[in-house]
Amino acid sequence: MLSHPVIGYLVWAVLFGALFAWEGLALSHLSGTVPTLSATFRAIMRYPFGRWALFALWLWFGWHIFLRGWHFLLRG
């Protein structure tokens, strides 16, 4: 898994850095026009379909991270 080229991880690091930097800019209120991540999610969650889409995304993420390919210890 760690045999990928370092540049691939660096790109993820830069993307996450950009995300945090943008959120920091929004939270600092230096620019009044940048919405925070929570404001963006609040806009999505204003109506049922948006809430369903976000919940489905959360479920998909949790399923992939925690449950997929996982077996009970006593199974088999």
């Binding site: 379909f49 948006g50 809430r51 399923w63």
Partner: protein, 134 residues
């Protein structure tokens, strides 16, 4: 780029992105419209539980629809993919909803206790500082 890569990776990622961005677009459009009067007069726990159940069921059904469509139209993923999706996501909901409801109940109880303490402190304060007229 091979066609299987496009079908199995690019299409799901782009579709998920488009669904989320469409939801964001509609949400922003709705936020710019004048607010309507609240349809439901329900308040408190019944409203919260209805909201939670609606979100959980809606999200689960939406994800299952996407997973089933992906499985039958895009790629027959091996390793009991559908079983894992149905049971795994139901497990996550079964774990998270009671925890969320319990945490909400605790938070509500704590804030209620704090509010009651504040009210009783306010009731006592003027009585102690009130001038005597006898």
């Amino acid at each position: 780029m091979s066609s299987s890569l496009v079908r199995q990776d690019l299409v799901p990622i782009v579709s998920g992105y488009l669904i989320l961005m469409a939801a964001l677009g509609v949400g922003l459009w709705l936020s710019r419209r004048p607010a309507r009067a609240e349809r439901s007069s329900r308040r408190g726990w019944p409203r919260l539980l209805r909201h939670l159940a609606g979100t959980a069921v809606g999200g689960y059904v939406l994800l299952m629809a996407i997973v089933v469509l992906y499985y039958y139209l895009v790629a027959r993923v091996a390793g009991s993919f559908l079983d894992s999706a149905v049971t795994g996501c139901a497990t996550l909901i079964g774990l998270s909803l009671p925890v969320f409801a319990g945490a909400s109940w605790l938070a509500e109880r704590r804030s209620g206790r704090r509010a009651r303490a504040r009210v009783s402190a306010d009731d006592q304060a003027p009585a102690e500082g009130r001038p005597r007229h006898d």
